[in-house]
Amino acid sequence: MGSRHSDQIPKNQAGLLWLLQMAWRDGRASLRRLLLFMSSIVLGIAALVAIQNFGMTLEENIAGQSRELMGADFLVDMESEPDEALRDTIALIPGTYLREVNFASMLSFPDREGTRLVRIRGVEPGFPFYGELTTRPEAAAGAFGKAPGALVDATVMTQYALRPGDSVTIGNLTLPIAASLVDAPGNTQVSTSVAPAIWIPYDQIAATGLIQVGSRVEYNYYFQVPEGTDLGAIYDRWDAVLDDANADMDLHTDTSDRLGRRYQNVGRFLKLVAFIALLLGCLGIASSVHIYMKEKRASIAILKCLGASRRQSLLIFLFQIAGIGLLGGIVGTGLGLVLQAVFPQLIGGLLPVELQWSTHWEPVALGLVLGVGMALLFGLLPLLGSWFVSPLAVLRVAERTPAMSNRITTAVLLLIFGVLWGVSVLLLERPLRALWFVLGLAAVFLVLALIAWGIMWGVRRYFPHGWGFEARQGLLNLFRPNNQTLVLILAIGIGTFLISTLYFTQDMLLARARMEDDRPAANLILLDVQAGQQESVAAQIRPTGMEVLENIPIVTMRLASIAGRTVEAIRADSTSTINQWILSHEFRVTYRDSLIPSEVLQEGEWASSYAGTGPVPVSLSDNVARDARVTIGDTLVFNVQGVLMDTYVASIRQVDWGRMQLNFSVVFPPGVLEDAPRFHVMTTYAPDTDSSARLQQALVRNFPNITVLDIRQILDVITDILDKIGWVIRFMAFFSILTGLIVLLGAVRTSKYQRIRESVLLRTLGAQGRQILRISAMEYFFLGAIGGLMGAVLALLATELLAYGVFEVPFTPSWVPFGVVFPVITLLVLGIGLANSRGVIKSPPLEVLRKEGV
């Protein structure tokens, strides 16, 4: 009988539909377990989708309401009163405009205690063009500016128990309060809590008498143009012209872009936290699928024996895992869309706009793709293992599946790395940073894995033979075959690590904000002290027992030329790389003979005096030097209020702008600016809120032009903001912990039958239920304790590194991670483990034996 050619063997006919059917039939039996796999990625996906969709909603809302945020189509702003020429230029810009003058000032009320830093806004009636001015009583919004009357921020009204009809004094001007101002374009809780606004009619500004030399005053021209006008064209036509006059044009879209970017940064960070939760879940999937596929080997061998091809056998289980992933994606996405509604509750007043919810397709697609993609990606290695299962295993139960070749394993690991990087790029939008993130993450995982592995090795090597039976058995359980100890310790460790790091970092940031130098740190900063007022202000402070800690002179100036080229020439040169802001910025310059603690000399030589002839040696901060493209020795000409002054760059300083200290980008030596029109900043330290309030009140009464920054109050605001952001972050980290717990639950269930068998065996050998329970308790206690402790200690190290390397502050860790997070997590692990073990003990041996049968 002749042999047919092998190509003629027909392939079996079972199609895609049958494969799907088989995937379902087989999955049906282990549905609960598969659903548990699924739930380990649900939360991560939910968190990601929630943030993504929330971010897009926010962006859309900000963009959609950008005119309402600005209150105009565009604005022209400047830092000093516009001269005739500039006013003429502005008049030529298309559209109608309304003017505003605003500045910070101290507010006091004749018959009430306390003073308050506020922003005085002198606004022409009719503003805002877009958006609502909400006042109480409501009618006052429409009547504003038609009669002399002020709108006072609602928080101030409450703080001082004011009512419409009471009067408010601003400098030399006393006005009746027309209404309380509830909401105005662009207001956020943060801006109003730092400096709440008082609106007064534009034409009343001069009467306050508060606009003097050195006062930081903003002049704004708000424009409205007919619907459909090309704003870009207006910008292109006028921006350069305005730049030359030291004015700036901002379109309403610019403002929203800037705002959008700020929230994007926060959003990116949150996405990463969510992504870590997802990865944890993926780790759970990888480990569950590994054990699942191991159990499926017998079935795969039978399938192959009956004639299924390798591809078909692989696809059946691939579809199963993909299906689970898809389901996880759907549930996660749904949950995420529900969840995003929680964010506004968490961050409350930090948002500048009212949110109009909408569902975007990108986050939904992301959720679904991530569900399927991550499940397959992390299940791929064990799934591919099915390819190598020999049908011979039907004859020989012990037939070993040959180990997967290193090449395939490496390829899959590279694929995982690549995909993770890809997803991070998608979330971060910065390829390089994403790479660092993935590498850093891999490092943390690796370190945790190494430590976990090391501990296990150590326990095995130095096994505590002296311990009691139960403790020893519990410890031994960590090494049972098919154990998921490593994955569990990783999951618990990463979760704890995240939460603890968040706590520590928050502590550190707050500590940094409060940081005190060797000297008692100033907590009251007096701005805009006129040169002639120094003595009388000091005389006001001293009798209270406080000291004037610093008295810093400030002279304002602009750059007239850089390295021999005039600012005008540089502006006209389109190839110049000098940063635009440098050219029109009004620098606040001080003079002194030494460096202060927040500064480090980076280059050149510090000039402590001026010889009296030749260009003046000045010192620049590194960012200004960089943006102005100058180095040591380059010449700079400053226009000091009409007088040109030749200088050269003598030194460049690194300045720690984050410190609560007055820092300067340009510093002159003494002996140059003493006669220039200047004002002073004085600082003092008030030991308590009462003395602080009394001093502020006295200062405001006698020197209405002086603005007092109360650092204590500002710190309260910062603490409040950090608290709120902290909540969001903790909320996200919570997802990691929950995911960790689900992974734990999955792992515990996966090994349930194995445990039942052992428990039955132990019981036949005479162990009591209580003993078995105690053994389990020990095991889970070890798991929770090792994972939790490792996470907390690693977090401590990581934060210590951050504190030392990045923030340069001494860091005293809070006890919360060790005192609360660690024990709670250990107890949770213990609880889940024990709840499961009770089921194990209760199940009757016969049922166990039946389920064991193939």
């Binding site: 079935s299 024996c305 009956l306 004639g307």
Partner: protein, 222 residues
């Protein structure tokens, strides 16, 4: 008469560390279509190994197997599988049903694999024939050993194989159940003309076959 199975100078050995264990050595025999063929021998003599090689589940070191006219040496794993699906049925000592599938689904499986639309109908008929009409929707764990073996048998015959391999089909069953399973096996063989290759310890069973191959220490005893 044509031979449905030709085995020539088959050799198989296992390596463990330094040592080489020759499990089968110079095995040559052939099986005529439609006959019953028994393989007997003491434990460890290589019966199961031989069966695995004949069904293309494993590769020999040397020698050849031709099954239904196909030289297994020229086929890859998937082609062997397709060939098994078309021509071969299996019965195992420990049944090897898929635990996650019902009796009916287990029996339909080989037919579904070849894309047979009437798989379920055929499977129901077969299950009825082995007396399990009432138990079709039960999972293997809900069936007794004998019942499981009958399901396995229905599955083995579902694709109307031209050749059926049975590795100690009664090994896990009591005497009564065992003999009933054997009767069933022989009936199906008589009705469908299926060639039977049975590995067994049971000499009574072997004597009911047309030919007996005796193995000892991996060699044929003549």
């Amino acid at each position: 008469m044509s031979n449905i199975l030709n085995v020539t100078q088959l050799r198989k050995s296992y390596h463990s560390g330094e040592k080489t264990l020759t499990v089968l050595d110079d095995i040559t025999f052939s099986v005529e279509a439609g006959t019953r063929f028994a393989i007997v021998g003491p434990s460890g003599s290589g019966k199961t190994t031989l069966l695995g090689l004949c069904a293309g589940l494993d590769q020999p070191d040397s020698g050849g197997v031709s099954l239904c006219g196909e030289d297994l040496g020229t086929l890859d794993e998937d082609q062997c599988a397709a060939l098994r699906n078309r021509e071969v049925g299996f019965i195992f000592q420990n049944f090897q049903l898929l635990p996650t599938l019902t009796a009916l689904e287990n029996v339909s499986l080989p037919l579904e694999l070849r894309g047979d639309k009437a798989a379920a109908t055929t499977a129901k008929e077969l299950l009825t024939k082995v007396g399990l009409a009432e138990r079709m929707d039960h999972y293997p764990s809900q069936l007794s050993g004998g019942e499981q073996q009958r399901v396995a048998m229905a599955r083995a015959f579902s694709n109307s194989p031209s050749l059926l391999f049975a590795d100690e089909p009664t090994g896990n069953l009591d005497e009564d159940t065992g003999s009933r399973v054997i009767d069933l096996l022989f009936n199906l063989n008589a009705e469908a003309g299926t060639t039977l290759v049975i590995v067994t310890h049971d000499m009574d069973l072997a004597r009911q076959c047309d030919r007996i191959l005796r193995l000892k220490g991996g060699r044929i005893l003549e």
